[in-house]
Symmetry: C2
Subunit: 229 residues, 2 copies
């Protein structure tokens, strides 16, 4: 059996959509939330959509961290640093934290089509500074539309994974490739997370301007560069 | 007859590739270079590839600016500000300047997979500060691979155009859509140029890592959002 995937903030639209897709792919998923009851309700909703055999449960965020070493963080930027500080004692040594957070200016009352400058370079690099030593951070899943993830169609979006730990990049790429339509691509070191985060702001602006649920594809790489189901 | 398209720095790989594609599409193209002779040689090379009826000529950069009000700037970032200062008296009132420049760290001896921070926000916004009053700047063509443009296959890349002047965005989108394979998409205001410039650094990193000539596609928008040939 594969290790559980913990989706921290998994009651929000992006996290719920990812949890839904992974549950459908047969993964064991633990939804984390500030409120254990809300997490369990979200898990129940996923079971209703995927079927009773779906391996999905809900826990308070800290309890969820204790249950696995594969964590996906999907929360609004305004809660990012505080949640990571709070979870620090709960995150297991050797864990992989996949950060999908985007520092949208909406976090401070600005536009969702602009990002804030983060001193470390990106939200994911902020995460890397806040996790316990020996935990590897990967930036990924910033650009997959929550609306599309919550639907039933293939997700027409490539997931670029950036990390300083190739083993962690690979774990994130494997998770990404479980979602129909998604192709995972190695995007290099964690410092490139800033570019993935900026792309989200561009896509949100396009969604507002053109009324769509946009994603990106990378063209022109040899087939070995793409990992897909 | 359509107005000529001036490609400033058109002897470099990106500018030459764009000039080649536009000449093939039947556009009148003027290649600009510091050296009129090099510009004329490049024009001759394009004629050899496209055929003797290709409407392409070469001029020194300032002379090229005088000849049209539709300018495309494709030079390494290290020469960007100086060239624009030099061209200021030559650029005609009401011109459109399409800036494809990316502030790669390679300009100062760093990596081509990283960008420099530009005080104005992006190279294109630096250009907007340096052109004469009443000249509209559009950011576009940062992400089209020079290698692919210089070939004969369709260019599998969307061109995102960003400008504060919708009329200028439209002119750039029309030019983009003349290149087989390219779709033009409105990416909003000029301030978003920074995102397009960052994407280039990401694509260059992928090209180095995966040995390819990458580009991007935007998925999930209604068909009216895409302009293509």
């Amino acid at each position: 059996m594969s290790r559980p995937t913990v989706v921290l903030g998994g009651t929000g639209p992006e996290g719920f959509g990812l949890a839904l897709r992974w549950a459908r792919a047969g993964e064991t998923v633990i939804i984390g939330s500030r409120d254990a009851k809300r997490a369990q309700d979200a898990a129940q909703k996923i079971k209703e959509r995927v079927g009773p055999r779906a391996n999905v449960s809900g826990e308070e965020n800290s309890a969820a961290c204790v249950a696995s070493d594969l964590l996906v963080l999907t929360i609004p930027f305004e809660g990012h640093a505080n949640l990571l500080k709070q979870l620090k004692p709960a995150i297991r040594a050797g864990s992989i934290l996949i950060d999908a957070t985007v520092p949208l200016a909406a976090s401070v009352g600005g536009r969702a089509s602009r990002t804030l400058g983060v001193w470390q370079g990106s939200a994911a690099q902020q995460a890397a500074e806040l996790v316990p030593k020996g935990v590897s951070v990967v930036a990924a899943f910033q650009n997959t539309s929550a609306e599309v993830l919550n639907g039933d169609e293939p997700v027409e979006c490539d997931v670029i994974v950036c990390s300083d730990d190739p083993h962690a990049s690979q774990a994130a790429a494997e998770l990404a490739a479980k979602i129909p339509g998604v192709r995972a691509i190695d995007g290099g070191k964690l410092e490139n997370a800033r570019i993935l985060e900026h792309i989200t702001a561009l896509l949100i602006g396009m969604n507002l301007r053109h009324k769509g649920h946009s994603g990106i594809r990378i063209t022109g790489l040899p087939s070995a560069a793409y990992r897909q189901a």
